[in-house]
């Protein structure tokens, strides 16, 4: 049990990060990597895992210093107060955009799958009420909900993989030659842009009790992420083929429709959809909590639970104001969003860390 009230463990923080990656990874990993790397797409998580080892190493080095309580403090230390605050504001603006993006994707997914042609507003209101309650409540409760959800998600996904594996056609994922190396490298940004959210998790640093133990969980987290991503890509591209997957909005959903066990067990999509909605709730609350944490650091305040009211209302209108259509949103994600994620979550911490080391402030 934690001695520190109002804090979570680094293990719980990493579980929340892993859960936050579920929703975008289902949507993005298969189609995104199939578009670039085709049948070699399943190699992209392995390459991305290598990059993530470096990211985890950097984060682990930063938080070994007990005086650095969160990423905002790290920016101040490494870059100086003025530049550190500017970088923090840039991160805040992008976090707000991502918060709107995930609320919008949640409604778009429901409309695309089971509530075709329905009005989106009611779905957003329901989600915002949950976000309001989750951000006003204790972060420990949200983390415990995350631990429970993590077990559910893992069991559900392993079951899906087991059902999908018999339908995998080897010629959809093999052969892989040295000519695939460049496409694999180019496509790995799809995965890194989502796994990079681990950096955002450490804006919650004030609320993580044992940050210095991050190194202990590095291997477990990366192996888990890489295994789930590889299995997702192998089963979906293996079942449907890379050219078809590259053109689909939610290939995992389509792959599940092909499951039929002994002509009795089929139509498993509602199970995916319910886990999907749960994952959307987690990713939206995750970003709301991080935005609140950044504001706390920026304005140096002690109490933040009251911010749940404006953040829920901002989410309602912001998600609708974000994009005029699903296509506009999709284009924004692929053309700009993923790259900004890579720059802010992977490149920026590394560059700032090096600057901090050169200035001998870290």
């Amino acid at each position: 049990m934690l001695a520190n009230k109002g804090k979570i463990t680094v293990r719980q923080a990493l579980i929340l990060f892993v859960l936050a990656t579920f929703s975008p990874s289902i949507r993005l990993f298969t189609a995104g990597t199939a578009r670039g790397a085709e049948s070699a797409a399943w190699l992209t998580p392995i390459l991305s895992a290598l990059v993530m080892i470096v990211v985890f190493k950097i984060l682990s080095s930063i938080f070994r210093n007990r005086n650095i309580t969160n990423l905002g403090v790290f920016f101040d230390r490494a870059l100086g107060k003025a530049l550190g605050r500017t970088v923090l504001v840039l991160f805040l603006l992008w976090l707000v955009v991502l918060y709107f993006v995930y609320i919008r994707y949640y409604t778009e997914r429901l409309i695309m799958t089971i509530f075709t042609g329905s009005e989106t507003k009611l779905f957003i209101i329901v989600l915002m009420l949950l976000v309001f309650m989750a951000t006003r409540g204790k972060i420990e409760s949200f983390a415990r909900f995350g631990e429970f959800s993590f077990i559910v998600f893992t069991v559900v996904f392993i079951t899906f993989f087991l059902f999908l594996i018999p339908g995998v056609r080897i010629d959809n994922i093999w052969p892989v030659t040295h000519f695939d190396a460049i496409p694999v490298v180019k496509s790995s940004y799809n995965i890194l842009s989502i796994w990079g959210y681990v950096t955002f998790s450490f804006f919650l640093g004030d609320r993580i009790a044992d940050k210095e133990k991050l190194g202990k969980y590095t291997a477990k987290t990366i192996i888990y992420l890489a295994s789930i991503a590889t299995l997702t890509i192998v089963t979906v591209i293996g079942t449907l083929g890379p050219s078809l997957v590259a053109r689909m909005p939610i290939p995992f959903f389509s792959a599940l429709t092909t499951i039929s066990i002994m002509e009795t067990l089929d139509r498993l999509e509602p199970f995916l959809l319910s886990t999907y909605v749960m994952s959307d709730f987690i990713v939206v609350v995750f970003f709301a909590q991080i935005i609140i944490a950044v504001l706390k650091e920026l304005f140096k305040v002690s109490e933040t639970r009251y911010l749940s009211t404006p953040i829920a209302f901002a989410g309602y209108a912001g998600s609708q104001f974000l994009a005029s259509s699903r296509f506009e949103l999709g284009k924004f994600s692929t053309v700009l969003g993923l790259w900004v994620n890579v720059v802010l979550c992977i490149a920026a911490p590394a560059v700032i860390f090096i600057v901090g080391k050169i200035r001998k402030k870290i």
Binding site: A317, G318, A323, E328, L336
Partner: protein, 69 residues
């Protein structure tokens, strides 16, 4: 416009309730991020509801980065 009323009435109601609680707990500094975030919420609400077919946030960001549709 009805939607605007349905959003603004509960928003102002909750904001007044929160601010009373914050004032009671003598949380003066906490008013600043609350007001900043409230302005963001009000800003996006007004822009979206008063001109729902106007340019979206995504379009504005893409234009800022020089990306054409």
């Amino acid at each position: 416009m009805i939607e605007l009323v349905f959003i603004l009435v509960p928003f102002f109601g909750l904001a007044v309730y929160d601010m009373k609680k914050m004032a009671k707990a003598k949380l003066k500094r906490e008013f600043i991020p609350y007001i900043v975030l409230s302005f963001l919420a009000l800003g996006v609400t007004l822009v979206y509801i008063l001109d729902p077919y106007g340019p979206s946030l995504v379009k504005m960001i893409m234009t800022l980065f020089g990306i054409k549709e």
